[in-house]
Amino acid sequence: MAEILVLVEHVDGNVKKVTLELLTKARQLGEPSAVFAGSGFENAKAKLAEYGAAKVYVADDPELEQYVAAPKAELLAQLVAEKSPALVLVPATIDGKEVGARLAVKTGSGLITDAVDLVTGDGGFVAEQSIFGGSTVVHSKVTKGTPIVAMRPNSTAPEASGGEAAEEKVSITISDGAKKAAIKDRVIEQKGGRPELTEASIVVSGGRGVGSADNMKLVEDLADALGAAVGASRAVTDAGWYPHQNQVGQTGKTVSPQLYVAVGISGAIQHRAGMQTSKTIVAVNKDAEAPIFELADFGVVGDLFQVVPQLTEQVKSRKG
């Protein structure tokens, strides 16, 4: 079966859910080989096998993670040359897309980003993308080189398959050219304990209507009652009420959960671009004319300070 390289996204070997999704997808299309770069492989090993990696290429040189994108692209280029895979899958995250971009230039290959599905079609893989803020669905193919596809988180339901993964050590000499953008420090600003925004099946987001950093607690309480991730509009992240990495929208994260709850968000086009493909959308806004209601499956025109705490209580009591 055709070999498919899957770039593993992880923090110290803690594998991100998107990687399990990519392995599941790769199994439908061929035989997945995970590519693990950096330290912490021992933590990752069992997970990668469980989700169907037939093989894992392990490059445990810590330098792979000390420079922006370029070293991982060199590693993948080396594997593409040695193994001639049918396809390279990377996550459509900031890092994943940039690694894919450099690999595309190195190998003279086509790159498709932000794919939401990938199937085998006539003469190759066909990727589905949702473009222009979700208004148009496009199917495209790579026509040159080894196809590189960056898939969006939450596009495939991860399924364990069990099994063993053969381990192959890869030695790599990172070129000086790949060491030009040095990462001097890593600052984690994550608010702990909740599902990750792009991975969550429910997202509750707060907008300017929430009024202050302290009031974001209302949004958090509802999110916790629902087991949801917390998102925010740009108005909220700009004001410093919530960390930037929780921003949903064109320049924030793209989410496509089963349920999206927008609290005090007007629904500007840049916000919609990041949440428009959510399966079910609920909005609470005091302005009946707010554009967010055009998207909502269910909306309440009202004061969020009344509606949201009542909703949180109802959710808690119904869940028992």
């Binding site: 230039v105 190195k106 790159l111 992240t237 990495q245 079910t280």
Partner: protein, 259 residues
Amino acid sequence: MNIVVCVKQVPDTWAEKKLDPADQTVDRKTVDNVMNELDEYAVEEALKLQESQGAEVTILTMGPDGATETIRKALSMGADKAVHVVDDALHGSCAVQTSEVLAKAISSLSPDLVFLGTESTDAGMSVMAAMLSERLGWPQLSNAGKVEVDGTTVKVQRLTDNGHDVVEGELPAIVSVVEKINEPRYPSFKGIMAAKKKPLETKSVADLGVDASSVGLAAATTAVADSTVRPPKAAGTVVKDEGDGGQKVAEFLASQKFI
């Protein structure tokens, strides 16, 4: 210091964007075209260095004839001059081809620093900084929320999925900026008048030493097979809060099996 800012003309944010059914490329004819919003932040960041360090700022655009409007806007914001790569052969180029053309154009200008927006609002790939860095062999300082130039060192705060990295590289370097970085200025009347006299050079692919048959739709590394416009979403239920709004939402969520 010499700075190049890559800007792209795109359909207006509020326009109904479509693919041209004839060749599945972005329809630029039936919509208003403007400077990619995110590139305005790149121009602004360059202009700040122009003011603080006396840098010369060159705008670089690859795009059809009409892209001169976007160039004029950047010049009226305060950039010094512009290069417009315009050639029918470029129509429908993919990101990999575009990066080749832009890299050649950048090389011919020998800048110390190249600024870009993190993504274009039409293609939305967020890959150009990485591709240019790969081609030119210069540090990739992408997704920057803050940029500091100190002598020959550039330090940026690179926004990541869970915080930020502090990243450093030596000039010449490629920097892409996010919209949190600054507040782009509006062109002044004086700026608009001055822009009319600023140098604008046009270049063909041949001028850049690029083979015309290697760019454009026919030679692109990816191809669109088909596209469909999603039907607009059916109108949902909107109720007015009569003191039971929270309860109504809970009932809806229960009916949909979310709780």
